[in-house]
């Protein structure tokens, strides 16, 4: 399997991105400053209770939900489009390998870079937080790390797949930023708009159950919903968060939907990206 060799080489190359490390340092500093703020004065951050490690995890998710997509854009948008534009893909594909292995190797390599950068930022932030709060919830930590790795996988898959659809880095940048803006920044209004249209162009406060699914199409929202699924007790203890899941009865209206969405966001982009890359003239 040459995908692993390609992943290793790609990791060596992409880990040297200065933009990535600038983002990691920014992330670590910001998370330390705000962790300090949260630990000292949780009421400023909307929590009525004393700061806990579990609370810190939910709090940190707000950061990672933003950091992972941004870092993934930086690390991933050129993964394949850049090599095609420059011509270095010819060196890669002159070796005994297949486009499938190159594609898989790229996804693994870039996910590895992203996870490494994120781990450094997170370890700094969360250890700092654990010291200040004076306690560590091991289960919450593991659940958060595992879920965040899944989120990293989502964004690595999405960005490398976007990069695999084109030989132009300009186009790859546009698509990558477009994806971020659509699914992370303005997605909240999409279910509103759909309901508005479905209700015959009238505003309503009575949301149908399926609007919950539409909301969770956003990977960032699905990531956050997924944490509720993994840490229900912590979520319940946090005021303002417990009302997230309303009292409806549709089978899909559970926090587990977030996990399903994340898995779909890994699989579907990979299939599209591979299909496009495999049929292209380089």
């Amino acid at each position: 399997m040459s995908a692993l060799s390609i992943a290793k080489k790609d990791f060596r190359d992409a880990i040297q991105s200065r933009a990535l490390w600038a983002l990691v340092v920014t992330f670590a500093l910001l998370s330390m400053i705000t962790t300090y703020g949260y630990a000292e004065a949780p009421e400023l951050f909307g929590s009525q209770q004393e700061a806990t490690f579990g609370g810190l995890v939910f709090f940190t998710l707000g950061f990672t939900a933003l950091f992972v997509p941004l870092a993934a854009i930086i690390v991933g948008y050129k993964a394949i489009a850049g090599e095609r534009e420059l011509g270095s893909i010819k060196l890669l594909l002159s070796q005994p390998t297949t486009r499938r292995d190159v594609f898989v190797g790229k996804v693994l390599g870039r996910a590895g870079v992203l996870a490494t950068g994120l781990a450094i930022g997170l370890v700094v932030g969360l250890i700092f937080g654990a010291v200040i709060i004076g306690g560590l919830n091991l289960y919450a930590l593991l659940a958060f790390v595992a879920l965040t790795l899944l989120f990293v996988a989502v964004y690595s898959a999405v960005m490398v797949s976007i990069s695999a659809t084109t030989g132009s880095t300009t186009r790859a940048t546009t698509l990558a930023i477009g994806f971020f803006v659509l699914f992370e920044l303005i997605w909240d209004v999409v279910p509103l708009a759909i309901v508005y249209v479905v209700q015959g162009f009238k505003f309503t406060t009575d949301y149908p159950d399926w609007a919950y699914i539409v909301t969770n199409v956003s990977p960032g929202t699905a990531y956050s919903t997924g944490l509720f699924a993994l840490l229900p007790d912590v979520a319940d203890s946090l005021e303002g968060n417990s009302g997230e899941v309303s009292e409806t009865d549709a089978f899909y209206q559970t926090p587990e939907l977030g996990l399903v969405m994340l898995v779909l966001w890994v699989v579907v982009p990979l299939l599209i990206g591979y299909y496009q890359f495999n049929s292209a003239d380089l």
Partner: protein
Amino acid sequence: MAAIECSGLTKRFGDVLAVDDLDLTVEEGEIYGFLGPNGAGKSTTIDILLDFVRPTAGEVTVLGHDAQDDGELVRQKIGVLPDAYHVYDRLTGRQHVEFACEMKGSNQDPIELLERTGVAEAADRKAGGFSKGMRQRLVLAMALVGEPELLILDEPSTGLDPNGAREMREIITAENERGATVFFSSHIMEQVEAVCDRVGIINQGSLVAENSIDGLRNATETGETLYVTLDRVDDAVRQEIATLDGVADVAIEDGRIRLAVGERSKFRVLESIDDGVAPIQDFEVVESSLEDLFVRYTTEAQEVNA
């Protein structure tokens, strides 16, 4: 089994017909020069051999394997110096060759290969700082990994100084003596002349000539140019010679008569001059340049097509 076999190969990019029903056979063990002007379809053909580009129609086999279906197997057995490639700026020379060794499952020493191509002293520098010639040497070292059965070199002398081009030819010859078939493209005839067993000239996507260098030369009627030194050289002599059979393009150049010999033997022409015009003191035969042949093949084909 042929090293490379293309039959009816056609590639269309939108409106542009890059390769037009190309038939090409490269035999095992030979050095084959693939010549053509820029844009003739050389790189597209090579890109299809390497499966960077998918053909619109036709069959391509490399070392007996289908280039599209068995690409991984093909590339395990060949070494490639692609055209318009780019090195990984942030990886060192040694890391590049190590990567090629790892991909091919070869345990060769990267430094030895880099020594062979003359860039070992830069092995631990990042390739982003390499000159064009050093990059070419680096990628050639990658191509030599695993003693390939077939070397496919797209414009190998690009960016090399005359010394580098000579070293490239020496490596090509040495690899051929080891048993490798070499297929390389060029738009410069002279580079091909020195090493190739056979030459194919491609123009507008089709093979317009294929032969040994001598064969190509004989097949064209350009013939040879004679420089003759006589007792006296003036315009009267020039006009007299111009009336002789089988002589064309007579001119005075540096105190000598220059003439092109067409359908007649050059010895008969010399005899005629010596007997009938003026005694010959000295003469020189210059073969028509390969550049002339090349221009002739590619422009005539264009005229036919137009």
